[in-house]
Amino acid sequence: MTTPTETQSGHPDIGGPSAEVPIPDGLLEVASLRGEFWRRLRRNKLAVAGMIILAVIVFAAIFANFISRFPTDGFNPSEVREGPSLKHWFGTDVLGRDIFVRTVHGARFSLVVGVSVVSVSLLIGLTIGGLAGFFGGKVDTLLSRLIDIWLGFPYLVGALIIVTALGGGKFALVAALATFGWVTIARLFRGSVIAIRDSEYVEAARALGAGNGRILIRHILPNAITPTLVYAFALVGTTIIAEAALSFLGYGVRDPETSWGLMIARNQGQILAGHSHMVLFPSLALTLTVLGFILLGDGLRDSLDPRLR
């Protein structure tokens, strides 16, 4: 009973008879949604690479305190500016602090900021986009214009202003970045919702007597969220970069908080002095992390692709 066959009008995902691609007349046995998803994800080499990278970073972030033997802060004049060695894997900086330790703590910081920002952005964006897409009409017009205006603001400059206005620090950083992060999410989600709200299964739910709330949460959200979710992954990556940029410019966090951007900013002068390791490692970490998120996001998009529909 689990062997599906195409309906006579042509199975939707395979399409009708065409001059290019003939369809094998029998459909293949299809596994469960989740099983299929993992299988495809595993086959996507880039996505797997992304997952590995992220796994490493996340591991480092979680176990930061256990990995490092050295403190993140402090003044260690005897070991200043040392290059990478067996003792200090990534070397030390101008104050003698172990760079490996600081990089690992930087991972924790970046991930926390990234995930927080994206979570808040998702909260705001899904709500606004969802309402706009679902209700349409005047609500949509209003909210869409709001989104458009918001999009007009330059991202970094705006974030900068907000951070300054809020007096700096982690909270300000998250708030500033989230203020701009929700916009694209809203737009994406709105588009998906519009595409789905006229689906027949939504109509079926209405015919059953379901109210708007139930329809939005049980039917529209799970089906519309995929592109947004994929984007959210990439957003973590770009947020981390943005945070690094802000910190680089001096508007992010300050010492002794460890942020990759801060490390790069503070130590860029050392490159010419021959101590480029101080900048190299945080930069590498930053690049790899963002890459990991983007690869995974891409892989997710391909695996979640409703080709099963």
Binding site: T3, P22, D25, G26
Partner: protein, 370 residues
Amino acid sequence: MTEAQIETAPATPPGEHLLDVTDLAVSFFTDTGVVTAVDGVSFSLDAGRTLAIVGESGSGKTVSTQAMMGLIPKPPGRIMGGTAYFRGRDLLTLSKDEMRRIRGSEIAMIFQEPLTALNPVHRIGNQIIEMIRSHEEISKKEAKQRAIELLKIVGIPQPDQRVDNYPHEFSGGMRQRAMIAMALALNPAILIADEPTTALDVTVQAQILELLKGLQEEFGMGLIMITHDLGVVAQIADEILVMYAGRMVERGDPEDIFYRPQHPYAWGLLGSIPRVLDEELAEERLINIPGMPPSLQRVPAGCPFHPRCTFRFEPCDTERPELLRRGDHEDACLLDQVAKQAGRAELLGIGEAPKAKPSRAVAKKAGTRS
């Protein structure tokens, strides 16, 4: 090869059919398994005649014709065997280029959805012109004249104006006609129509079927009609081929198939449609073929229909039925003749020699005659 042809076509000497397909077999090798789409299908077509290939989803009817046209992507598809002789050449062995030359000019195809053949961003006229000129050396002007002629033949009003329309400016029925015009542009010997009217309203469908019949008569084309609609088949077919799970299960002329069907699947098909032509039977409960057509990756052993067949008996699950011939009527069922008649009578209530007279209903109810 000649031997095989003689065996399957005793009535006409080989080489005389316009199209002669023998033991065609096509499989698809996918990463979840092998799909046996077509397994040993044979049929022939003469000029001016209509062959209808009937089957439900997964029967292999579309793949059969696509194999003939060279439209199967070679991985994952593969022609596992058989021949398809057309004008002295085996289509299955031709190169891509040779097939391309034949497609459109000698064998043309129309589909269920006209927009698969008609490019929405080009004008109809230009598409026809391009098609003509890719096969023949004539000027644009002449080609356009031909295009207008063609549109006229297929019954599109004001062809000289509509030739410059885009596909979306045509209604559904008109688009079908335009697609037919394009298919006829080079005067093909064979026209393959794959569910051409399934998506159309019934009144439009009637028009298109009339058109096809008329064109066939006028141009002497051979027509292969692929459909699931038994009504369409009854109306236009000269010969009917019933397919199931990639195999042929029955072949014969319309009277054979409708009044003397031999294969239990054919009985089931005929019994599944409401028999509105008979007052008594119009609201009779429909015959239910239990279960579903099998996956072509796991076609049942022996007779592919046996798991769903009420009349199966011992050898059906191990022995693959050979095609049994009685005149021009052949079927692939292991039941003997008496059992077939009895089964048919039991299921459909039809005896041996029905004719369409008002008293047919009475003859039916009179029951079986061996």
